[in-house]
């Protein structure tokens, strides 16, 4: 297990330090990209949920009998 971990670590180091460390820049950009996209998707899901809830409340409001509505 330890051996595997160190082997992985070494392989990672080898990739990251090759090409004058260009892959470190790639890693940083990917982290930011993934973080922002993940946040954006979570936000979109929330908005979608709110939209459908909104539509539901709108349709239930229009179904109300006229006598209950505020004049």
């Amino acid at each position: 297990m330890m051996l595997l971990a160190t082997a992985l670590q070494m392989a990672l180091d080898e990739v990251m330090l090759s090409q004058d460390k260009l892959y470190v820049v790639l890693a940083v950009v990917l982290i930011i990209w993934a973080g922002l996209i993940k946040y954006l998707f979570a936000l979109d899901r929330k908005l979608g949920r709110l939209e459908s809830a909104m539509a539901e409340s709108e349709s239930s409001a229009s179904e109300q009998p006229a006598s209950l509505a505020i004049p």
């Binding site: 180091d13 990251m16 330090l17 090409q19 004058d20 460390k21 260009l22 470190v24 820049v25 890693a27 940083v28 950009v29 982290i31 930011i32 973080g35 922002l36 946040y39 954006l40 936000l43 929330k46 908005l47 709110l50 939209e51 809830a53 909104m54 409340s57 409001a61 229009s62 109300q64 006229a66 509505a69 505020i70 004049p71």
Partner: protein, 248 residues
């Protein structure tokens, strides 16, 4: 009989031109990315420095995280202050949303800084985390917001929650400058501009600033987009809650 609408007309310039602003920010960021990765005989060919090598380009990505977090922190504290003065619920929504997006940028800054430092400053060691003053600052700021959200969830009444969490937010904001003063005296920093290190302007090639400053503006723009949508989502949520509790 028609039901009254919650939001009649009061739509600001930002609301009506949101899509255009978003397009502008996306194009701007695309240009920044192109500028950041132009090398090998193209324009904006930045000089190589040993140890840093190509990672000097991380300046365009890692550092703006910090700028964006600080900008959102200021926005959050400002809205909290206004919330205390006026008691306006929208101010509370704005303060909370800015804090949420600030945490996202703070975490991204910490993560990217950790990766960058591991392969440059700490190359050949197994260090991923070191208590560098700037790193500690960002961590403390994220922790403060963690406490802020925990405090919010411990308050049930919404008016009380807005007021008391605003007090904490403003109070925490007042103590942050001391951290800036005390930390550099306590631990050594490898960041440029710290004591004994060359200043930012000395080690960055003028060409880099041509990309760096637009990158800062662009990322603050992206932060603003997320913040703006957060605010919108929260406003909608509140509208919905009001409808459920006061049936028409």
């Amino acid at each position: 009989m028609t039901l009254p609408r919650e939001h009649p007309v009061a739509r600001s310039f930002i609301d009506t031109h949101y899509r255009q602003i978003r397009l502008l920010i996306v194009l701007w960021m695309t240009a920044v990315l192109l500028g950041a990765f132009s090398f090998g005989g193209h324009w904006l060919n930045i000089p190589r420095i040993s140890i840093l090598e190509h990672t000097a380009r991380n300046l365009y990505f890692h550092v703006p995280m910090w700028f964006t977090m600080m900008a959102l922190t200021v926005v959050s504290a400002w809205h909290s202050m206004r919330c205390l003065r006026s008691g306006d619920a929208v101010r509370d929504i704005r303060a909370r949303s800015a804090a949420q997006v600030a945490v996202v940028f703070g975490l991204l800054g910490l993560l990217t800084g950790s990766v960058w430092a591991h392969y440059t400053w700490y190359e050949g060691t197994s260090i991923w985390w070191n208590f560098d003053p700037k790193q500690t600052m960002a961590t403390v700021q994220v922790l403060i917001y963690g406490a802020y959200f925990a405090l919010r969830s411990a308050l049930d009444d919404s008016a009380k929650r807005a007021r008391i969490s605003a007090v904490y937010n403003v109070f925490a904001f007042a103590t942050v400058p001391f951290l800036l003063y005390v930390l550099p005296r306590q631990m050594e920093s490898l960041h440029p501009g710290a004591e004994g290190n060359p200043a930012f302007s000395e080690i960055t090639h003028p060409l880099m600033r041509l990309v760096f400053y637009p990158a800062v503006i662009g990322f603050i723009g992206v932060g603003w987009l997320l913040y703006h949508q957060r605010v919108r989502a929260r406003k909608l949520e509140q509208q919905l809650e009001n409808r459920q509790y006061t049936p028409l």
